[in-house]
């Protein structure tokens, strides 16, 4: 079934849904402009704006599901942005509202958590203003009804992410990480920008309505090219191979940032872009979709392998994030069923990954910001709430039956195997690796003997931090089943992304791939127990095999970047510089020098003598009058 038509909407809460974006934006503006004056209550305002936005999202959601299924795609025009070219407006449909609920819901919990986490930081107000800015930009990204608005939001979240990664800019590593994220993302953004330009020249429109419901039939080659360009953008933002390297370094930011931006929301923007554009640019079986599937598979394996060897708890989780987004990207390549599972996994992942990150943050908070898991151990007694919530998140992510991750990840694997056996079984293998690295993390952190630093006195975090953890873990338990069983989510998403031919596939608990996945996860967990649970973990990392080193070095991602892009780039630059100096540069420099020289000489005409100015006026008057006479008598 095709997606429903987009209809214009006015009035009601949907008509006022721009408030979702405006409120956090207002919060950010007040906090940034208000300066020190707002220090005392700034964090509360930030939380209030995020919660208010969540309330608007919820009410909008209920108004939307009050409409008949076929009419659930509402375009809300706001204003003329570039007169005659782009109108700004929002598209409220099941897809965008799902994202809005995730962003504002999880976002609000993370805002609340940050009150406690950042309570000792002098820059807390600034932190909340950036968080609000991020929420606003992310909502613009998913709610905009055209590609230009999406792009502005896209750059906005990039900016917020840059500011937040480098939030502790006095740490050189944080500043470098922020720069790296910014630069790597430029590559992706460049692709996206070119893609949008191409869309505009191809379809004559940048609105989703204008593109998806266009009567034009562009050549397949053009569509594939646009798809690949959009995919490049998606790879940058969603940390997919080959643009994955920034995400691990991005963990330099405060942990709530890692949870909100680099796990739950921003990094899923690429998946959103692929699903949103799916019907036209990534249809099932197209070249672009195949590329998306391959990128997803490679990333899900790469991320898992990196996660297996990291001793830094946040970097381990970052590898896991890469891997899970790889699953989503893979699922998004296989039509409406895949979209539903990909977005479903995205939402459940938003919950359990935020849960895991905030749990990790809580552990770090207790351990004086220690991130090395080799210095943890036996924390389950000291941090009971953190432990149990983390455990739930862990079970959810490895796909323990009946928890959230089980339903959505299994759905993706089943769908993929149905279409493409090779990729599907690789995804099963990835699930096994997930079982290993997540179990390793849990064993190293909460079990075994104490390996704490001498001055560590772990204590449970305050309620303002644990309550969000509890709420997130509730979502991690039940959300997946709620969404998947009975095809609830697929039916809900149908009007936005289309329904599979032949209706919603039923959920089968016992299939060959499903059982194989469970078996592999169990094997992975068992190996982890043998290596890290049963025997003591050394405080200093052993040298490890070639494979471990490989994984510890992020699969030599940076070295690869260096040798593949930087070195040849430098060579190319050198060669280019050589020619540049003689040719192009000669021209450009010559031009610049010429303008500068002209300017320097012309300046001297301004002698400072009033009488010579008067002369220029008289001269000008004579020329003007003369020219008029000349023209008039032609």
């Amino acid at each position: 079934m095709e997606p429903a038509k987009i209809v214009e909407h006015a009035g009601g809460v949907i008509g006022a849904s721009w408030l979702m974006i405006a409120l956090p934006l207002l919060g950010a503006a007040i906090l940034l402009l208000g300066g020190r004056r707002t220090d005392r209550w700034g964090h509360l305002l930030g939380v209030a704006m995020s919660l208010a936005s969540f309330v608007v999202a919820v009410v909008t959601f209920f108004e939307l599901i009050g409409l008949p299924g076929g009419e659930r795609r509402r375009a809300v025009g706001l204003f003329e942005f570039i007169p005659g070219l782009v109108d700004m407006g929002l598209l409220i449909d099941p897809l965008s509202i799902s994202f809005a609920l995730l962003i504002t819901g999880v976002g609000s919990l993370i805002h609340i958590y940050s009150i406690g986490y950042m309570s000792h930081d002098p820059g807390r107000r600034r932190f909340f203003s950036y968080l609000n800015l991020f929420v606003a930009a992310m909502l613009l990204l998913v709610l905009s009804h055209n590609y230009v608005g999406l792009y502005i939001g896209w750059e906005g979240v990039g900016l917020a992410s840059y500011l937040l990664i480098g939030f502790w800019q006095y740490k050189p590593s944080a500043a470098t990480a922020a720069q790296k994220a910014f630069i790597v993302n430029r590559v992706g953004d460049f692709g996206l920008a070119i893609g949008i330009f191409t869309i505009w020249t191809t379809f004559g429109s940048v609105t989703f309505q204008g593109v998806f419901e266009s009567t034009l039939k562009p050549e397949q080659g053009v569509l594939t090219a646009i798809g690949l360009l959009l995919l490049l953008g998606a790879c940058g933002k969603s940390a997919q191979v080959p643009l994955q390297s920034w995400l691990l370094d991005a963990m330099e930011g405060p942990t709530p940032v890692s949870a909100l931006i680099h796990a739950a929301t921003m990094v899923t923007a690429g998946v959103y872009l692929v699903v949103r554009s799916g019907a036209v640019f990534f249809p099932e079986g197209s070249t672009a979709a195949l590329f998306a599937a391959i990128v997803g598979t490679v990333t899900l394996l790469a991320g898992a392998i990196i996660g297996m060897a990291k001793d830094d708890i946040k970097k381990g989780l970052a590898g896991s994030t890469m891997s899970q987004i790889g699953y989503m990207m893979l699922g998004a390549a296989f039509g409406p069923v895949g979209y539903a599972f990909a977005i479903g996994h995205l939402i459940t992942h938003g919950f359990f990954k935020a849960n895991l990150f905030l749990g990790a943050g809580s552990v770090m908070h207790a351990m004086n910001d220690e991130v090395n898991m080799r210095r943890y151990g036996a924390l389950r007694k000291a941090l009971p709430v953190t432990f149990y919530t983390f455990l739930i998140g862990y079970l959810a992510i490895i796909g323990f039956p009946l928890l959230s991750g089980y339903f959505t990840k299994d759905g993706i694997i089943e769908t993929v195997i149905h279409h493409n056996e090779v990729l599907g079984w690789l995804a099963v293998l990835g699930a096994g690796l997930t079982g290993f690295y997540m179990s390793r993390m849990v064993f190293m952190t909460f079990f075994g003997e104490k390996r704490w630093a001498d001055d560590a006195h772990p204590h449970e975090s305050p309620a303002v931090m644990t309550i969000p953890l509890v709420l997130l873990s509730i979502g991690s338990i039940f959300l997946g089943g709620y969404l998947v069983l009975g095809g609830r989510f697929m039916t809900f998403l149908g009007p936005a992304v289309g329904m599979p031919e032949g209706g919603v596939p039923a959920f089968h608990p016992f299939t060959v791939p499903g059982l194989a996945t469970l078996a592999l996860v169990a094997v992975g967990a068992a190996i982890a127990w043998l290596r890290y649970g049963r025997v003591p973990v050394p405080v200093t990392a052993p040298r490890g095999s070639f494979l471990t080193t490989f994984a510890r070095r992020d699969l030599y991602g940076d070295a690869l970047n260096e040798s593949l892009f930087m070195r040849p780039g430098q060579w190319l630059t050198r060669i280019a510089v050589f020619f540049d100096n003689r040719g192009v540069d000669g021209l450009v420099n010559g031009l610049a020098a010429g303008i500068g020289g002209t300017s320097g000489r012309l300046r001297r005409v301004q002698t400072g003598f009033a009488r010579s100015y008067a002369l220029s006026i008289l001269f000008g008057a004579a020329v003007v009058a003369g020219a008029l006479l000349l023209v008039g008598n032609l």
Partner: protein, 515 residues
């Protein structure tokens, strides 16, 4: 004899003008009657009330329906564009007056010779010239009248009412008084010189048409056509007087000197208000009175616009003083605006161009006042730190201020998501629609050159090491901080959500000028 008919004066329509002039006269009376210590606390409220009240009156006139007939026996046209320009001038005037209110900028005693004990005494005694408020009010009233004059005589009188107080205000800077006085004398002599041209042009046009009303000139033109030597020379000389005021090349020479020497709040008022008013007058003369002569003046204006854009952009590159650089930037912007003046044609085209120009004036005016407000805050021992080298590393000392200034510069450069972008877009789009494509190409190229020196300042602020004895950032008064905040907010809002103001400009432009 059938007696003398008293003229009908539409006081309602003219009330904003009358209120501003009235407030100015009250200000003069305060100077004459109130004791010295009371004057400042009286002048500021009177000035602000006058301006805000006049703005409210403008709104009332708009509410009652934009008049379709010129007021005061056809001498003053209170039409859509005039009301829009009045509103803009009043808004710019209010924020400029907030800047002017800062004591630190004006001389303690203008009569005291700089560097004498007399001057030190005046400073020690806390002397201040509260005359600046009525002077500014007269100038603002003159600006409003200038943009709405419907005959050349009123326009000439308005030109002088606007300029004479400004000549004086330019000479009243508290520090660097030699520069300030020099600016004043240069501006005065050149201004008087150029208004003599305007007047002679007016005489010649009167000789041709037998009337100085804009509509009358247009009618006379329609009857005769454009082959008359008297008329062509007259039109040229009128143009010289007007182009001088907007600072178009080759009549731009006064602008950098005067902008640099004048007290910065006055520079802000001149760079925003005078430019807006002068464009109102330029449009009236060239579109209403000389509209039928457009085949003759258009090629000449092409030359002037190109010369202005190029000269402004190229000369700005090597400037080392921040105020001079902004002056050249203002010259370049005047050139961009002229492309809109040139793009005339059918009524729809005129409305499009007018809309673009009106929006551009709003966007540029507010950003300019904000930029000069920032300039007043960066200070050295001897006053404002004008030299660009003193601005190096400002981003490290005061990131917020440098950030706002960088944002204003980006708006001048016309980067998307700032008001400047939509201003340029609106004017250039209108110019393209009006067939002035080569002009727009020159405009875009000079924008690129101009962007270079804006970016240069940004780089200087953020990527250079600050000088050890760098300028101090004055803690702004509430007024100055407010001006910067208002200007920054307006620049953002007009860059993201320009539609309301664009629509307003469109409505104002749709009726075009009444005759």
């Amino acid at each position: 004899m059938n007696g003398i008919q008293p003229p009908t004066i539409e006081y309602g329509q003219l009330s904003p003008l009358l209120l501003v002039f009235g407030a100015a006269i009250v200000g003069v009376l305060i100077e004459a009657l109130a004791p010295r210590y009371l004057r400042k606390s009286l002048q500021m409220p009177v000035t602000l009330l006058g301006l805000v009240g006049a703005f409210a009156l403008v709104l009332t006139v708009v509410m009652q329906g934009v008049p379709t007939k010129a007021a005061a026996e056809g001498a003053i046209a209170v039409d859509g564009p005039a009301l829009f320009i009045w509103g803009v001038i009043l808004v710019l005037a209010v924020i400029s007056v907030l800047l002017i209110n800062d004591d630190n900028e004006f001389v303690a005693s203008a009569a005291a010779v700089p560097g004498t004990p007399e001057e030190e005494d005046a400073i020690a005694a806390g002397g201040a010239h509260t005359e600046i408020y009525p002077l500014a009010l007269f100038a603002i009233g003159g600006m409003m009248l200038f943009a709405s004059a419907n005959d050349l005589l009123i326009m000439f009188v308005a030109l002088e009412v606007m300029s004479l107080p400004l000549y004086l205000l330019c000479g009243l800077a508290r520090r660097r008084r030699l520069l300030s006085q020099e600016a004043s004398v240069k501006y005065f002599l050149l201004g008087a010189f150029s208004s003599a041209f305007f007047l002679y042009g007016m005489a010649l046009v009167y000789g041709f048409a037998g009337t100085v009303s804009l509509a009358g000139i247009s009618d006379a033109l329609g009857a005769v056509g454009g082959q008359n030597t008297l008329l062509l020379i007259g039109a040229g000389m009128l143009g010289v007087g007007l182009l001088f005021k907007i600072g178009a090349a080759p009549f731009q020479a006064w602008k950098p000197d005067v902008y640099q020497g004048a007290p910065t709040p006055i520079t802000a008022l001149m760079a925003s208000g005078t430019l807006v008013a002068a464009f109102g007058a330029v449009l009236r003369v060239f579109w209403v009175a000389l509209g039928n002569l457009d085949w003759d003046w258009r090629p000449v204006m092409w030359g002037v616009a190109i010369l202005t854009m190029v000269a402004g952009a190229v000369l700005a590159i090597t400037q080392t003083d921040i105020k001079r650089m902004l002056a050249y930037s203002s010259i370049a912007h005047a050139g961009f605006l002229l492309t809109g003046v040139i793009a005339t044609g059918a009524e729809a085209q005129n409305a499009l161009s007018l809309k673009g120009i009106l929006f551009y004036l709003v966007a540029y005016g507010i950003t300019t006042v904000g930029a000069f407000a920032v300039v007043t805050m960066v200070r050295d021992a001897g006053g404002e730190a004008g030299h660009l080298s003193r601005w190096a590393g400002l981003g490290k000392r005061s990131p917020a201020l440098a950030g706002v200034f960088a944002f204003f510069l980006l708006a001048f450069a016309g980067i998307p998501l700032t008001s400047g972008f939509f201003g340029k877009y609106a004017v250039f789009a209108a110019a393209v629609a009006g067939g002035a494509v080569p002009l727009v190409i020159v405009g875009v190229v000079s924008s690129a050159v101009a962007a270079f020196f804006y970016v240069r300042v940004i780089v200087l602020m953020f990527f250079s090491e600050p000088a050890p004895d760098g300028p101090t950032i004055a803690v702004p008064s509430v007024g100055t901080a407010g001006v910067v905040a208002i200007a920054a907010a307006a620049t953002v809002v007009l860059g993201i959500y320009p539609e309301p103001v664009l629509r307003l400009a469109e409505d104002a432009a749709s009726t075009l000028f009444i005759r």
